[in-house]
Symmetry: C2
Subunit: 464 residues, 2 copies
């Protein structure tokens, strides 16, 4: 048992206060490793908080790895040094194990996440101001569903932004605001045909392939290569080609000639091109590459963009630009569309109208350019000739080929044992056989300090 | 041309200021009916606002029917008295037509919408406070996607609320926060099988049937009747039965015996029950009916609830309670789940924890009970023996059978000509042949004042 005395100057919901308090005690060592936490009922009687409050605080501690749950026993504190094994069921039993590896491991795992964005750059004040202001001006409309395609004010701002920044030519009527990539793919499957066959570049990033499969598409791969014509390399019966022109698997961007040829090919083969421009804003060397959509005279390109990379994934807001000929089909599907909160949409429209969005993008370009440079330096210094960097200087992740004869899974496990999380492609269809393992390192969410700790640990894990 | 002079004490985004200003001029008659609005370019040069700003303001005026767009000509003001024909392409030409009907018509259409909620009851201050507070405490987590099933703090609050208020027995692990009914049905189709056959009660409300069809389900109907056993009435090969136990098509709720039998039948026929409790909170006579889920010992019931009725549809937030045996399947689908904004979820958790949610529900019960009573009185007084009321005293809409030999579509058109919007079932499968037409009147969003104008207009439209 231990005492919990909350000071009266704590602020916020009770469960946050309680969570912070216990976390502080664990961090300071005031609750030692292996301590069993009091049961929810017991703590509730002791401190007169509701069971709900205590359960939420405990759940947050579990999620962040400060506490583990042992079946039929209870919750136990996991002291910092042992956290690297917190996915292991026997983590708690290792508390006597003080071998060197465990001591060298960092406190919390270093995560080269592909999904997180920079945590320090969020324009909190401007966003809150826009949210509150749009609340005040739109509270009279809060009892209605609103436009199923997304708020018109936001669609107009997106059209304007895409034209200026990404060379996309469209009217607000072509824009559809949605709740994320999977939601967009589900909707698209209804527009371009159920169980459509979609061609992916070989080595394309894994998670997207999974999302297509899970939404009923058949995924096939093709080797996109400047030296071969599209007609030669494309498999038969393709309904759509998925491309990320700003950030290809090989790292290079598509040449103008290939881009033209692809559009031409799609038009003559009654196929679509799904252009996923998720991080097209962030090109670290040279200018950003305008979108494929802007080159398309036929209306074959479906352009997908997101606020999750350049702004925050917490809003779950993305958008598609549809070719005009797909719009009539949308009308019968109105009620199946899934859009994000109207208030967030109206706040985003205001945020863009006021210029905050443009300022934010400029700031993020700088931040990510610095992070990208530092990543390359660190990889050079510590991993040197043991890896090849495949990144062409765009986006928020770097792809490494590691000169070892083992699988990407094994590399991930070796890294994990050092407390570092790295990622790989999991769609077997998209990974060539008998090749050296490829690893993805995201740098959007990680701090420079954590990079500087993480890359040397990868050397220890993989090389010596 | 007309002058636009914005006063400097106007507040809000420029497009809102401009929209309000022009709307005011139209309402006061300062811009007469039929006036052509200046082009976007011309107005932009005149008042030095950006074209985007002007386009947004114009679009808002069009959406609300103050202005119509004539192809290849421009935008024209539609004066209040003519607004009832604003869906008509020739509305503008009617400006000379001052017949009695037009003069009697109200300014804006009276809408017995099935989707809107009460516009005056939204707890604006409490919600804004929770949103801002949860922002402050969670800004450190805004760069992450968060839990794909929904924020744990919110799922815990929902579980607690459902247990107390709806008799639902579940743990937070069984709860999945989503972005609306269509999203839930899409997900369910992956859990219970693609193109599942779903049985609906005859006469079930139309829109839901459409949503099932659009998500790939096959919809069949059955006549639920206290005098027949479930085995006798249920069609073969059913994967799931859709029910709204608190608010059935016939208006009555299901007896305890039938509810037990339904669960028993589903268990023995390896079928599921999809319990849609969208307005189960609002029972105007007697106590609310506890959920079917709470009676289910086998885990056959999938319970669906929403914040769109009792709170606001603007957040696009709903949830499902899944039986434990469906949970393992969810793990591989994590990234295909679509959840609402994390910040809204965390704000809602706080809103519930602080008791605001419970206070709000109590307040809404009162509001809707009063609206329901007034609707029944008005229908009695004005429509009397010409209609039968099928409502059993629950939910936010009333179902009428109208004693006329015409279709529901014709009744809708007659009402529309008087400036009143009413609704009907559109799924032919669910409407019995050769029956009197049925009409749905929602009363969630409409004001009592508009009811008092609208019901007498329905008499004029349908009866004399």
């Amino acid at each position: 048992m231990f005492d919990i005395l909350l000071t009266s100057d704590e602020q916020g919901p009770l469960y946050i206060q309680l969570y912070r308090h216990i976390r502080g005690l664990i961090q300071r060592g005031a609750i030692p490793d292996g301590t069993k936490l009091p049961s929810i009922r017991a703590l509730s009687q002791q401190i007169h908080f509701s069971k709900n409050t205590i359960e939420t605080a405990y759940q947050m501690l579990i999620e962040e790895g400060y506490v583990i749950s042992k079946p039929r026993s209870g919750l136990y504190v996991v002291a910092p040094l042992l956290l690297q094994t917190n996915t292991n069921q026997h983590a708690f039993n290792l508390s006597q194990n003080t071998n060197e590896k465990a001591l060298q491991s960092p406190y919390a795992p270093i995560d080269f996440s592909l999904l997180e964005t920079d945590s320090e750059s969020f324009p909190l004040q401007a966003w809150k101001a826009c949210l509150n202001e749009s609340f005040n001006y739109n509270s009279c409309r809060i009892h209605q569903y609103g436009d199923y395609k997304g708020e018109y004010a936001l669609r107009l701002q997106i059209a304007h932004y895409l034209k200026q920044s990404r060379g996309v030519t469209c009217s607000p009527e072509q824009i559809l605001v949605g709740t994320g990539m999977s939601n967009s793919l589900h909707l698209l499957s209804k527009l371009i045909g159920q169980s459509a066959r979609v061609a992916f570049e070989k080595n394309a990033i894994a998670q997207v392939g999974d999302l297509f499969s899970q939404n009923g598409y058949t995924v096939v791969s093709f080797p996109l290569n400047e030296n071969l014509s599209i007609t030669e390399i494309m498999p038969g019966n393709i309904d759509a080609v998925y491309v990320t022109p700003s950030h290809r698997p090989s790292g290079n961007h598509l040449s103008y000639a290939i881009r033209q040829e692809l559009i031409h090919w799609a038009y003559h083969n009654q196929s679509h091109i799904i252009e996923d421009d998720y991080d097209g804003e962030f090109r670290h060397a040279g200018k950003t590459i305008p979108s494929l959509q802007g080159l398309d005279p036929h209306g074959v390109v479906i352009y997908i963009g997101t606020f999750s990379k350049a702004f925050t994934p917490a809003l779950r807001m993305n958008y598609m630009v549809l070719p005009p000929q797909l719009l009539p089909k949308l009308q019968s599907m109105e009620r199946t569309l899934s859009s994000p909160s109207r208030l967030d949409q109206l706040a985003m429209a205001l945020f863009m109208e006021r210029g905050h969005w443009y300022r934010h993008i400029r700031k993020m370009r700088n931040t990510y350019r610095k992070k990208h440079e530092r990543m390359l330096q660190l990889i050079h210094t510590h991993l040197g000739s043991h890896v090849q960097i495949e990144s062409g200087g765009a986006g928020l992740h770097i792809e490494l080929t590691v000169n070892r004869t083992c699988s990407a899974e094994e590399l991930k496990e070796l890294a994990h044992a050092k407390g570092v999380r790295v990622y790989s492609s999991q769609q077997p269809e998209l990974v060539p056989n008998n090749k050296k393992p490829k690893i993805y390192l995201g740098f959007g969410g990680i701090t420079i300090k954590d990079m500087e700790r993480g890359i040397p640990l990868l050397k220890e894990a993989w090389i010596r």
